[in-house]
Symmetry: C2
Subunit: 588 residues, 2 copies
């Protein structure tokens, strides 16, 4: 969807004309990257910022005034934004370096009542952040529908069929979950709660759909009333009869999505009165969900092992049999996952990054950037392939990263890999008292690389949804206080363990498993928790510098590899795959 | 100062009569354990709670009404309080178990204007905590002087001479420090700041005194004005001429302590407008202060080594030469420290705890509890001696804990000791990015013992003052969020590293060094910090289970012991001490 610069110029001019013709002429219009549900992945219907600016990054905010046009985005996207904005009226505002929106706005002379924003593309926290200094009568509330006459090729609303998750898979019926919520509301003296987060509604009602890739939700809103009559705001035509009947049994009537949107916008400026407990409940997986996750990871492990075995076969033969690129290996891995009858979708766009590409933390290969995997003959180093991928299965969601060497590693590459592995293993093998939070656990993953002068800028771990968003809040393992102290760890939570080291322009290493928090033991010193590792896939032993591993780390490694082999070997039929797995998991 | 139960009864009756005769008859009187400076150690002049209740613990709050008498204290003191309150009108309220003051107060029928409290024995946070639910016209503000007619043997105010710290020792003149403060106040648009914390005033003015043991401050208040004329509220007779002249040079005039107290009380109910920056500045020691700390630790290390060498000699001979008890070893250690001409005072009451006593975290031996150090012949276990001690020297303050085995250790004792040692060494050898806080570092000290099912309830580390309070805020290493995330680590800070494990009724282990935060290196990943270990004293190698130490931990241990030996050996003249040190620091 690359738009050329003339097209962007025309759109901005058109927009300025439109701004001038509103009932109250607008001095500025604010266009963030957001849908009415504050979703991680946004349907094309709300990709207004991309349409207007031509910038295709996943994060950014555009502001157009009568004589200026600005785009704020974060450091991941500065290079890309500079390229894509060149020749357009937009100038790049680098978040954290240039003035932020509020400082910029404070420096402008603005007459009252002249900043427009779209109520349906604004969350309350963002609203409060952007407009904290603005007079409320300066703000003009608009609906993004108002721009339809200009945005003539605006993609329609997604419209996939809603399906029910079988109770037997989920382990808790929607009736039980609604019951918990009603009890909570009564206990807190609240009359009702309005939900706009799609994953929360899906969790509560045990429904799913396929509106957008990766996040299997239907667009909807839900109002739950203590009185017992609830409303799901959704396009009825997407709700099959059996789903509708099920909803009726829960006293949920349906109303149009548009009415839900109106309700949402009317609550935008009011603070919520009751804290929404669903994110905290959702983080704790019940026995059935835990078992589903285990099964998903076995399927995922089989696909990963078959993939790695195949890749090793090709590597040994010098990649002569076909053209191997970042994109083609991602496709091969996807194809192998698809062979499972329980595969539903990828859980996010595969990160397949070779050589220097892997130093860009969230690199996703495109046709333009794709490179062949060709280890230089005789040359040492530069051949690391970082693969961060995952899938939704019928009964769970996976997220795994492995870094693989396709050539001969340098000493530095092995040192860096081993430091990442040490942190990864230390976190995975933590025992800790109930109440420990993600800021405390984070240290385990970083302390060894810190001693080597390395660090990484992203989080160490995030919660994972059950056949739902692969990045599920609020559980976090991070080195900053943001969120990760809000939810202490407890039994049943699932979190990723994904430290990394990235050397700009050279190479990158990340290793990721998914962990299930479990009760460990009760002693005189309290109740202790530990992690059960869900992910089943060998690490690349050629990248491990044994001299840097401490004996207890080596034991953890061997213990893990033994479990991987024992679990997956019986499920592999191809002799080459079986041999590869046995060799890859031999004790070190 | 144990008061018998009849005396306590008489005092309570006397107090109730006095309460009834006040201008407004009091229904209740609140008596916390506090002086007007919110000091850690409180002069006898303000030990009103102890006088009234007979309970000698360092923490607690008494409340007397016309028909009830209560004493709140924390779990450290429940046993002691029960014994000391038996037969008195006071009933024990266990903090965290029984109702707290506010809940108790809410359950009472109180008429307006009838709860008395002493303004000079109340901090603002405690005031807000205690009286958040109380109508302000219910509160009667009193001065503790009002109780003098009853408290006839009230100890007088301390009255030691004020002395100046030589600029050459401190590395920063009082003029410079006052200048920094004035600049800060101007920058923050503040006109003045009123200081009541004694250690802050001493830091700012480079003065000291000896009013109470351990904390070398004179009782005073200080008002700093941006206009440039400041006031030190202090009993003038304690200020020698040369100190007075020095103060004049800084435009500081003197006023009576009583006037400062009036000012403090009048500000008690007002929130402070400007944040006091001194605790944050004070935490960062300058080059001179750092050098002073190093020298103090060398003196302290010599005393410790001579002590341990002597103890080992006695041990080998079966402690036959004299009676060795918890108190006598504490005295011997103090005597050896006193041999240095730069010794000034202990920095806190020595914790000398043998056998099960060491399982009580803050056990301090008294004549009543003192036990002889008599390892049972042939018996294995139960002979650990925990010694937590420290001193003020002319140029710095020390705090060190060693746990020593006087008999033959059990496997469990060695395992526990080694787990504590591993955490202690891990923290000491951390490298970490600037901005890392005490909650993050805490994990390093606990992760190994957590894996063994052990933990400890106290903080892992605290800041240390420069010839000032041995517990200096706000720097903390803790496993709870309290304080320890408020001040990120930076170069020049000093913190203790003191993990422990305590098995109730059996034995306890704690190991403590003092660490100086230093710049480590700057890499592509940022600026890294590390710790220079100030404390110089061997660990008890007989308690180390080598099979539990990882190779890198063994290297850290050997490296530390080598440095201890290299630094201290040239300073030891006694051949037995020299031999003991060489043996104690041999590579493991």
């Amino acid at each position: 969807m690359m738009a050329n610069m003339n097209l962007i110029r025309e759109r901005v001019e058109m927009l300025r004309k439109w701004m001038g013709c509103q009932e109250t002429a607008l001095w500025a219009l604010v266009i963030p990257t957001m849908d009415p549900h504050d979703s991680e992945y946004i349907a094309g219907h709300w990709q207004m910022r991309e349409w207007l600016t031509g910038f295709t990054g996943s994060a950014g905010m555009a502001v157009v005034t009568q004589d200026d046009a600005l785009l704020w985005t974060d450091s991941r996207y500065w290079l890309q934004a500079e390229e894509q904005l060149a020749g357009t009226p937009f100038r790049l505002m680098r978040e954290g370096v240039d003035k932020d929106f509020r400082s910029w706005l404070n420096g402008q002379e603005v007459q009252a009542g002249r900043i427009g924003y779209f109520e349906d593309m604004m969350s309350r926290p963002l609203y409060e952040d952007l407009f904290a200094d603005a007079e409320s009568d300066m703000l003009i509330h608009l609906s993004s529908e108002a721009l339809n006459p200009l945005w003539t090729d605006r993609p329609p609303m997604p419209h996939t069929q809603v399906e029910l998750m079988p109770d037997a898979l989920v382990g808790e019926t929607a009736a039980q979950r609604i019951g918990r919520l009603l009890e909570y509301l009564e206990l807190n003296g609240a009359e009702q709660i309005f939900l706009s987060d799609l994953s929360e509604i899906c969790w509560l009602l045990n429904i799913r759909a396929s509106d957008i890739p990766f996040n299997p939700y239907p667009l909807c809103f839900l109002m739950i009333n203590v009185q017992g009559s609830h409303t799901l705001f959704i396009d009825r035509s997407r709700v099959p009869d059996e789903v509708g009947e099920q909803l009726q049994r829960f006293n949920i009537r349906m109303d149009s999505y548009a009415n839900g949107l109106v309700l949402r916008c009317s609550t935008l400026q009011k603070a919520e009165e009751t804290e929404d407990p669903i994110p905290f409940w959702r983080a704790i997986k019940n026995e059935k969900e835990q078992e589903g996750f285990r099964q998903s990871h076995i399927l995922d492990g089989v696909a990963m092992v078959r993939f790695l075995s195949r890749l090793e076969g090709e590597r040994v033969q010098g990649f002569r049999n076909s053209i191997w690129t970042e994109l083609s290996v991602a496709r091969l891995l996807e194809d192998l996952r698809r062979e499972s009858k329980d595969f539903l979708d990828l859980s996010f766009e595969t990160i397949s990054a070779y050589g220097p590409h892997a130093a860009t933390v969230h690199y996703e290969p495109t046709a333009e950037t794709d490179v062949p995997l060709v280890p230089a003959p005789g040359q040492v180093g530069g051949d690391l392939l970082l693969l961060d991928s995952g899938a939704h299965y019928t009964f769970g969601t996976t997220d795994i990263t492995r870094t693989i060497c396709l050539g001969t590693p340098t000493e530095e590459e092995r040192r860096v890999y081993t430091l990442v592995l040490r942190g990864h293993l230390k976190l995975m093998n933590m025992h800790f008292p109930e109440g420990t939070n993600g800021l405390q656990l984070d240290t385990a993953a970083r302390m060894d690389m810190w001693r080597g002068g390395y660090d990484f800028g992203h989080g160490t771990g995030h919660g994972v949804g059950f056949r739902s968003g692969v990045h599920e809040g609020p559980l976090q393992i991070r080195k900053d206080k943001r969120y990760c102290t809000s939810l202490p760890f407890c039994s049943g939570q699932i979190v990723t363990d994904e430290p990394g080291i990235y050397l700009a322009g050279r190479f990158g290493v990340r290793i990721e498993n998914q962990l299930l928090c479990q009760e460990a033991e009760q002693t005189d010193f309290g109740r202790f928790l530990c992690f059960e590792c869900l992910t089943l896939c060998p690490y690349d032993r050629r990248l491990i510098d044994l001299s840097l591993l401490q004996p207890e780390e080596r034991e953890w490694l061997n213990h893990y590899h033994r479990r991987v082999c024992e679990t997956l070997l019986p499920l592999l039929s191809d002799e080459a795959d079986r041999q590869w797995l046995q060799k890859a998991t031999e004790p070190i």
